[in-house]
Symmetry: D2
Subunit: 345 residues, 4 copies
Amino acid sequence: MITVGIYGGSGYTGQELMKILIRHDESRVIAVTSRKYKGMPVADVYPIFRGLTEAEYVDASPEDLAGLCDVVFLAVPHGEAMEVAPLFLDSGTKVIDLSADYRLRDINVYESWYKRHTSPHLIDRAVYGLPELYRDDIVGSDLVANPGCYPTGVILGLAPILKESVVDASSIIVDSKSGVSGAGREPSTGSLFCEVNEGFKAYKIGKHRHTPEINQELSVLAGRDVVVTFVPHLIPVNRGILSTSYATLQRETSTGELIDMYKQFYRDEQFVRVADEGMFPNISSVKGSNYCDIGLTLDERTGRVIIVSSIDNLIKGASGQAVQNMNIMCGLPEDTGLKLVPLFP
Amino acid sequence: MITVGIYGGSGYTGQELMKILIRHDESRVIAVTSRKYKGMPVADVYPIFRGLTEAEYVDASPEDLAGLCDVVFLAVPHGEAMEVAPLFLDSGTKVIDLSADYRLRDINVYESWYKRHTSPHLIDRAVYGLPELYRDDIVGSDLVANPGCYPTGVILGLAPILKESVVDASSIIVDSKSGVSGAGREPSTGSLFCEVNEGFKAYKIGKHRHTPEINQELSVLAGRDVVVTFVPHLIPVNRGILSTSYATLQRETSTGELIDMYKQFYRDEQFVRVADEGMFPNISSVKGSNYCDIGLTLDERTGRVIIVSSIDNLIKGASGQAVQNMNIMCGLPEDTGLKLVPLFP
Amino acid sequence: MITVGIYGGSGYTGQELMKILIRHDESRVIAVTSRKYKGMPVADVYPIFRGLTEAEYVDASPEDLAGLCDVVFLAVPHGEAMEVAPLFLDSGTKVIDLSADYRLRDINVYESWYKRHTSPHLIDRAVYGLPELYRDDIVGSDLVANPGCYPTGVILGLAPILKESVVDASSIIVDSKSGVSGAGREPSTGSLFCEVNEGFKAYKIGKHRHTPEINQELSVLAGRDVVVTFVPHLIPVNRGILSTSYATLQRETSTGELIDMYKQFYRDEQFVRVADEGMFPNISSVKGSNYCDIGLTLDERTGRVIIVSSIDNLIKGASGQAVQNMNIMCGLPEDTGLKLVPLFP
Amino acid sequence: MITVGIYGGSGYTGQELMKILIRHDESRVIAVTSRKYKGMPVADVYPIFRGLTEAEYVDASPEDLAGLCDVVFLAVPHGEAMEVAPLFLDSGTKVIDLSADYRLRDINVYESWYKRHTSPHLIDRAVYGLPELYRDDIVGSDLVANPGCYPTGVILGLAPILKESVVDASSIIVDSKSGVSGAGREPSTGSLFCEVNEGFKAYKIGKHRHTPEINQELSVLAGRDVVVTFVPHLIPVNRGILSTSYATLQRETSTGELIDMYKQFYRDEQFVRVADEGMFPNISSVKGSNYCDIGLTLDERTGRVIIVSSIDNLIKGASGQAVQNMNIMCGLPEDTGLKLVPLFP
C-alpha cells in the first residue's frame, strides 16, 4: 500500500485527487494539507465526500509530511511548488508536481513567463509527465512535472502528425476552449457565475503561460523549433477542454490515412481514443474520465489538417494524469483508480 | 457471474445502466435492445462508451432474451413494460422494471393516472423497490417495481418523520425541482436547449403521475391516508432532483432531535446521508452517485418542519437504484458497482 | 428633463439602472458613483455600454451630488443607505432606496434582522415602493423604499387572494427560486461559476432577511398578522425569480373564479400579467422586462391554492421598479423607459 | 407607417422580428404566418408577447399578403424562400430574405452547397444585405439577401484588413463558436438540453454552408479568390456567435496601427464597436443588441493577426440586421427600432 500526501488539497485539483484516490486500491491518502481550511473535515468543504472520508485538512510542513509519504502530489500554485519539492525529494518522497515549476526545460523560458526559479538544479531531474510520450522516463523518476491542462490535449492531438512530419511545423494554430474549473476556486469577479454564464470570450491571447510548454513539446516532436499561435477561450461549463488545431500539409495524404496513422500511434494507449472518420470529440464524452479523445480531418479546399482533441481538464488535464504518473512510477497497472466511465449527460 | 439484459437501452436510463454495469464485477450485460438503433454500436449513440464496450443494440424479443438472462432491466416506457414483464417472468428471468407499471398497488389508481393495465395479476407479486424500506421483500422477489425519481427522494426525505408521527400527515406539501434528463431523450420542443436554459418553471401542477406513488408510500409510512400537494419544477441542469417538503409539527421537538431521529433511522444505510444541523443538500453533491442526501430544520416561527432531500435522478432515482435492487435480489453486496463518488464540479 | 444620480453604481442593480435610464427620454443621469472604480469609464467595467455612454464613475459625496440631482437612486448595501439618505433629503433630492433600510415599518423588526438603524426618524416618511399597492402614496413621496426582489414577486402573487380573504392567512408557505445575480457582484466562493452551475440548493432556510418584509406586507393585505414559511433556493441562471406559494382555502371557489379575481385585481396594471387557466409563468418569459407574471390553480385533492409568480429580479425586482417609482414620483407616464420586451431565448 | 408581413413567423428569427417590430415606431406588422400554429395567438407560442400583441398566426399565401404589405420578411428555410420571393416582388412588395437563397452570386456554388434554384433570374437583382459594406445598393433595392449569422461577424471582422491588403488572403482560418439558437426551434436530439449543456464540440467541419458565403464576400474585399478554413463549434448558451480569425501578415504593422485602421474603417458605423488595444469581445456584451464587437491583436512571435468578432446571432446575425435593411430600404433612420442596449448578465 503506497502512502500518499496531497500538498495543497483545497482547490479543485486537490479535491479531484481525493476523489480518485478514495477508489484507488493500492494507495492510501494519509494527509491532505490546507492552510485555509486547517482542522476542517474535507467533507465540510466538499460535501461530495460525506460518508466517504473522515479526513481533515492539516497545515503540515513538507518536513512533517515527507517521512510519512511514499508519494506526494503538489497541488499548490507555481512558485510554491519549487520551494517545497526539494524538501520532499531530500527525504526520499517521490514528487508529482501539478504546477508549472518543472515543466519547462529552459530556465530562461520559465523565468520570462513565470518568475525567478528557486530550485533550478532540479529541472533536469524532472520528467515531463505525459505518459503517452515519456512513459519510459517516468518509470524511474522521482520528480514528475505533471503537464498543463491545455498542453495535454494539444500535444496528444498533434504528436503523431508532427512526429511523422506530415505538416509544416511553422503553420500551427491552436484554438482552445476550456471550462471554468481551469480558473481554480479562488474568488474573483471574472469567475463569478453571472460573469461567465451565457458568455464566451477569448482571453490572454498570445500571452497564456501554457504557450511555451506547448512550443517546447511540439519542438521535441517535430525535431525543430515550433512556435504556435495559441488562443484560449472560456466556455460556460464546469469541466473540459476542447482544442481545435490547424496545420498545413506538406505532403499528400488523406483523412483516412491520417486517422490510420493516429490509431497506429496510439494503439497501445488505453486513455487515448481516436475517432473514426467523420466523428469528432465532444467534451461531454470525456467528462469525469481520464480519456483524451481525438478526431481529425483534412480540409481539402485549403490543404489544412484540422485536429480536434478533448479532455477533462481536471482529470487527464491534471489529477487523473497525476495518478497515472504515480501508477507508472510505482509499478502499478497504469489504470489503477482510473477506470472512470465518463458521466453523460 | 450474473447475466443481464437491458430491455430498452437507448434512453438515458438505459445508458446509465450500461455505465454502471460496465464496472459491476459480478454481472455481465449480454444484450441491450433498441428498435431505433438496431445494429448500431452503443458507442456510436453514446460516445462515452468508446473503448469500453463493443456492444451493439439488438432488436430482440423478450422470448429471445429471456433464456439468456438471469436478470432483465425494463427501461421502456410505462405501458410497454407490463406487456413484456410476464414473458420474462414465465421463463424464470428476474425483472426489474424502471417504468411505473407495477408501482401502484391499487389497479384503479394506476388506471386513472396511466392507462388500462394488461397484466394486473402481477401487481401483487411486485415489490416496490426502495431498498431502505422494502429490503427484506426485495431479497426474495423476482419482480421489482423500481421507484420513480421524484418519489425516491421525497419518500426517503419524509419516511422517518411520518413513521414517528411527528407531523400532521394531512399538512404535507412537496415542492420538487428536477434536472432535464428526467424528461428523457425523445426530441420535443419543450426539452430543447434554448427553451430550458436560463428558464425555470413549474409544470404539471397537481397532475404529475408521481403523485399517487408518493401518496401510496407515505400512507404506508403514516399508517393512514396521505394526500400531498406536489408541484414539480424544471431546473436547467442535466441531472439531479431536490425536493423541499413542508409539514406541520404535531408534537414538540427540536431540529437537533429531528436530525438525531433521521440519523438513527438511516444508521445502517450506506446510500442515505443525513446532514448535520445547519447543512442542506445540493444536487451537485450527489451528481454521479447513488446517494440520497437529506437535510432538515424546524421553522420555529411557524411550527413547520422543512426537509430537503436530493438525489441524482438517473442513479438513485433510476438506474443506480435498479442495480441496488439487483444486488439485493441476487445476494450480492448491495454496493457492488455502486461505489460511485459524486462528480463535482 | 429630470436630473438623476446613481449612488453606488458598480453593482448589477447600478448597471441595470444605467441600462434603463440610457433609454429613458425624460431623465438624464448626471453622475454615477463608485469608490472602487473611481475615474474608470462605466463602459470599461460593463462593456455593454461601449458607444452608449461616456460616463465615468466618480467618488462623489452625497453633498456633492445632492445639489445636482432631482432624484437619486441608492444602490448601496443596507446600512450605507440609511447614512446618506438624510443628506439627500435635506437638500431636496428625492430618494429611491434600493436597499432594505426603509422597508420595515417597525424599527425593532429592522434591527433584529439587520442592524442598528441610524436614521429611524425617516422610516415613517418612507413609502413602500410597490406601485401596484401604494401608487397613491408614492406620488407625493420623496423617500421610496424600493421593495426586495423576493417580496416583489411574492406579494404581487398573494395580494388578491389575501385581500379577498380567500385563504387561511396562517397557512402560507412560499418556496422561492432565484437566479444568481441576486447575490450581487462581490467575489465569493459561493457565487463562483463552478460552485453554482449544475447545482441547486436551498439556502438561509427560515432565516432570509426578506421574510419580515413579506410578513409585513402580507399582514397589511390580510388585515391580520401573517407569518409565512419562506425558503429561497438558488437556480443556476443569471436572472429571474419564480416563487411557488401555497395556501389553504377557507371558502369554496374554483380555479376559474380565482383567475378572474386576479385579472380584475390587476386590470389596470400594465406590468402584471395574469395567465389564463392552465398556463404558468416561466422566468424566461419575463427576462429583461419589468413584468410580473402570475399563474394559479386550485389543487382540488388538498384544498390548497398554488400561486406561481415570476419576475426579473434585476428589473421588476430592483432597478425597473425603481424607475417605475421615479416615474410616478415625477409625474411621468409610468412606463417611461420601461417598454422592455422580454428577451427570449 | 410601413406595413410589414413576416412570412414564416414561428421560429426564433420570426419571434425576434416580432420583438423588434413591436417597438419600431415607423412600421406595423399586419400579418405573421405559420402553418403549424395557424389560428394560435403568437403570445401562446411565445409568452413573452402576452400583453404586447393580440396577433395570431395566419396561414396566408404570398398572394394574400402581398397586397397588404410594403415589406415582407421571409423567415422560412432556404428552398422555400426562392419559391415565394417572386410572388411578393411581382406585386410590388419589398422582400428581405433571411434564408440563404439569394446570398450566393454564383448559381453553381449555390446549387452545389444547397439545392436546385427555382428563381435564379432574381439572383442578380438581390443585394447582399450587409449595410456596412453594401449600404448604397440596399437603398434602392427591393430584394435583400440578409446575410448568414456566421458570415456577418466574420466578414465584418476581416473586412478592413482584407480591403487594405494587410494579410495574405490565402492564410485565413476562421474558428467560430455559436450559441444554440442558431440551430432553430425544430425538435431534434442534437439540440436537446442534455445533449448540449455541459458539452462543447465542433460540427460540420469544412462542410458548413456558410463557407461559400464567407469566401464570396472575402473575395470581393480582397479583390482575389479567397478560400478560408472554417470550423464552427457549438457553445452551450442561447445566443451569440464569437469568431476567432487568423491571418498571416504580409507587411509590417503593429496592433495599435491595426486598431486605428479598424476604427477608421468603421468610424461612421453605429452598430460596429472596435475595442481598444488589449480588450476583446465577449458574446455577453452584445446579447440582445444589434452590435458587432471587434477586437484584434498581433501575435508577434508568429506574425499572425488574430481578430475576434462577436454578434448576437438572432439580432445582428438575423432579425436585427433585417430590420436595419428595412430601415435603409425605406428611408428611415437606420437605428429605428434598434436602439437596443445589450442585456447583461
